[in-house]
């Protein structure tokens, strides 16, 4: 009974086909030799990948996305680590409320945040700036980082820290030499998950990005709204290749399931 029957396997294959079909078609269309959208039936061509080079705005948006992801995830970690330590190891008034506040961006639709930030940043003069993008991204990715760091710091053995303290280590030394190394896997995976969420965010960013400072998904989205051509397929395909590559590395190093479910693999 602990094996899948033929019906289950057929269902499984159809399910995987459903999941892969749109991703594969983007990659296929990107290789078309024609000047219009079509499947590459007359041989493969790299002309649309070369065409990306003639559209520097995509490349600039890609670089901006990488920088935005890196800066905002790092900031989110810097805020989340002390907050996670406070929540995980102290009993204090308002602890639950503070945790709920830090996780609350998960409940707010990104369209609402986009609207809220558009109004707010326009008023304080951060509208369309990179700083505005960073600050807004820190808010939406912090819950992801916090959850993983929280899990890591709840599970750690406090006796090691007490030993360090009793041997005369100051609280800063104790944090740097004992606590941080122990929660580092959680911190690292929190950074990665935060980076992915920042890099893929489009709904909120479309409100606060400006033509000069924008991210790749937003650039792609605005382009697709006007017209769909093999060029966007090529940009998307490139993005998919990069993501799959990163995913395989991530799965090897850390385990995708552990990252997304937040538990060890069995």
């Amino acid at each position: 009974m602990n094996r899948n029957g033929p019906i289950a396997l057929i269902f499984h294959v159809l399910f995987l086909g459903f999941l892969l079909a749109p991703i594969l078609i983007v990659c296929a269309v990107a290789f078309t030799p024609e000047g219009y959208l079509s499947l590459p039936t007359n041989g493969l061509s790299l002309r649309w990948f070369r065409a990306i080079g003639d559209n520097p705005e995509f490349i600039r948006a890609f670089k901006d996305s990488l920088l935005l992801g890196a800066v905002s995830s790092t900031l989110a970690i810097l805020v989340a680590v002390p907050a996670a330590l406070a929540i995980a190891r102290h009993q204090f008034f308002g602890r639950e409320a503070i945790q709920a506040l830090f996780l609350s961006p998960l409940m707010v639709p990104h369209i609402v945040l986009g609207i809220a930030f558009l109004r707010f940043f326009t008023m304080i003069g951060l509208g369309g700036t990179f700083a505005g993008l960073v600050l807004s991204h820190v808010i939406i990715i912090l819950p992801f980082a916090l959850r993983l760091i929280l899990a890591a710091s709840t599970g750690m053995d406090r006796a090691v820290e007490n030993a360090a303290a009793s041997l005369g280590a100051s609280s800063w030394t104790c944090f740097r030499r004992v606590t941080l190394p122990l929660i580092l896997p959680g911190v690292a995976s929190g950074w990665v998950l935060a980076f992915i969420n920042s890099f893929d965010e489009v709904t909120m960013t479309v409100f606060i990005a400006s033509p000069e400072t924008t991210t790749l998904p937003v650039r792609l989205f605005l382009y697709i709204q006007d017209n769909i051509d093999p060029l966007v397929a090529a940009v998307s395909a490139l993005l998919i290749f990069l993501t799959v590559g990163a995913m395989l590395v991530l799965d090897r190093v850390y385990g995708l399931e552990r990252l997304l479910v937040g538990k060890g693999r069995d």
Partner: protein
């Protein structure tokens, strides 16, 4: 909270206290507040203030020539309640989200169960295929559906070749298309949620039921299903909330004609420039979202307390 902090730190220490000193870390409860202070400051300024401002903006009025009027009234809410056009948009949003949730549960839950019963190398590989799309940009995935539905027409060609349909179905700019694409975007969340609840299910329990003479269907109905229903329910909450507030997929597949709440708010803000009305739509979406998530979570947790422990 400041009261509690000061009452503990300022409490006079009785000179005759004979009790052993409390552990060093707990003596000074200011520490946790200091540790969470940067985050609290950040969230107060960058989350609570902008959201409050959005609510206040929704109370302003808007005139085509004068722009945003600095008055306080509930007119925008009354407009939305009175207007059939907005009813249609909100109803459509709800219908799409409900359909997507049902489809995700019907296909995602069995897939998670099948995945769990797979053998080691295949299981990891298939899990990668199922969860991988979560990491690929929503825009790229939706572009794939736009290509399958529209430009290449591959879906219709396939369905017609198989003899399932006689004439092409219109997928682009229709609810059918939006529902299919959104199901694709969100079904990994359902698989994840059911997968997590399956981790608690011991396969030996199924074998025990079988050895006691239960048929496979009975095992499914009496042993497996009761265990994974909390997973399906919490997955459904996530999927419904994300589907109801989805933006990029309905914007690309639904186009400008087929509006949902999120694309309506976007249009009011960036095209019509009626910010107060856009803010009103946003506030309603936020309230609906929070009520559904918090309410359903409470319900699920109370009903299935024993499963959550």
């Amino acid at each position: 909270m400041s009261m509690a902090a000061s009452s503990e730190t300022d409490a006079p220490v009785p000179a005759t206290a004979a009790a052993p000193p409390p552990p060093r870390r707990h003596r000074w409860p200011l520490v946790p507040y200091l540790l969470s202070a940067p985050g609290l400051a950040l969230f107060a300024v960058l989350l609570l203030v902008p959201l409050t401002m959005t609510f206040l903006l929704s109370l302003n009025s808007f005139s085509f020539y004068g722009g945003i009027q600095d008055v306080w009234q509930w007119g925008n809410y009354a407009d939305i309640i009175a207007d059939d056009y907005f009813h249609e948009v909100f109803l459509r949003t709800f219908r799409i989200a409900a359909l997507v949730t049902v489809l995700c549960a019907v296909f995602g839950a069995p897939e998670a169960y099948i995945l769990r019963r797979m053998k080691s190398p295949w299981r990891g590989l298939c899990l990668l295929v199922v969860l991988g799309p979560l990491l690929i940009s929503v825009v790229s995935r939706t572009l794939g559906w736009a290509l399958l539905f529209g430009s290449t027409g591959l879906v219709n060609q396939g369905l017609m070749a198989l003899g399932i349909i006689a004439t092409p179905i219109e997928f682009m700019y229709t609810e059918t298309g939006v529902v299919i694409a959104l199901t694709h975007v969100l079904v990994p969340f359902m698989v994840l949620s059911v997968w997590a609840s399956l981790q608690r299910l011991d396969p030996q329990v199924e074998n025990a039921a079988l050895s006691l003479g239960a048929g496979p269907l009975t095992v499914m109905r009496r042993v497996v299903l009761p265990q994974i229903i909390p997973g399906i329910l919490s997955g459904s909450i996530i999927v419904f909330a994300l589907a109801a507030s989805a933006f990029a997929t309905p914007a690309i597949i639904g186009g400008r004609r087929l509006k949902v709440a999120a694309t309506l708010a976007y249009d009011e803000f960036l095209n019509t420039l009626n910010w107060p009305l856009g803010a009103t739509v946003a506030v309603l979406l936020l309230v609906a979202n929070v009520v559904i998530i918090v309410g359903c979570n409470r319900l699920v947790e109370r009903r299935y307390k024993q499963v959550f422990e």
